[in-house]
Symmetry: C2
Subunit: 110 residues, 2 copies
């Protein structure tokens, strides 16, 4: 399985995306992650395993409280992957703009 498969798969869940958003503000323990989402610890652990396998979260093994932190490198891979399609959505938006302008011009005609 490619790394990008694991990353996209990990991101396909709103709770996991919310965990990443929380970790973007700083490290957190599993307990701290469970609280705002009203999740049970085993559920959070399961989500964290998916995020860790995708390389998006690293759980420290040194400290007693084993904090989790966001590892942003795979998110940069996602940004780099999606960037190649920017030209296409820009073109589509420009076409839409041109079409709307055309409609407005027609309305102005007597």
């Amino acid at each position: 399985m490619e790394q990008l498969d694991l990353v996209f798969s990990a991101l396909a869940d709103p709770t996991r995306r919310a965990i990443l958003a929380r970790l973007a503000d700083g490290e957190a323990t599993v307990n701290q992650l469970a609280e705002p989402f009203h999740l049970k610890l085993p559920t959070v652990s399961k989500h964290l395993k998916v995020l860790q396998r995708a390389g998006l979260v690293i759980q420290s093994r040194k400290a007693q409280w084993r904090p989790c932190r966001l590892e942003p490198a795979p998110l940069k891979d996602v940004a780099d992957w999606v960037e190649r399609y920017r030209r296409i959505w820009d073109e589509r938006l420009n076409q839409l703009d041109a079409y709307l302008t055309e409609l407005q011009e027609k309305e102005k005609m007597p």
Copy 2:
């Protein structure tokens, strides 16, 4: 299920990402999509259904040959979503740069 869940889930497969890359060059029929990947038609159809459900591909119902085309709006949603983490990976890269510079400075010392 949120739309972004469907989009990320659809992107978590290398064949589906390859289909999108092919459609970025222009419309294609199911037959034309199957050929370069040496896939059977039902397999391509299955992948296309996942991409259509995520709003990433639209199959025309008008023309006899029913071409598929890329719909880039959900990819823009992915770009917008991941963009909020850019600050974090930029910071991380800067920290790495600073660390490497520090190592080099130390080596230069007598």
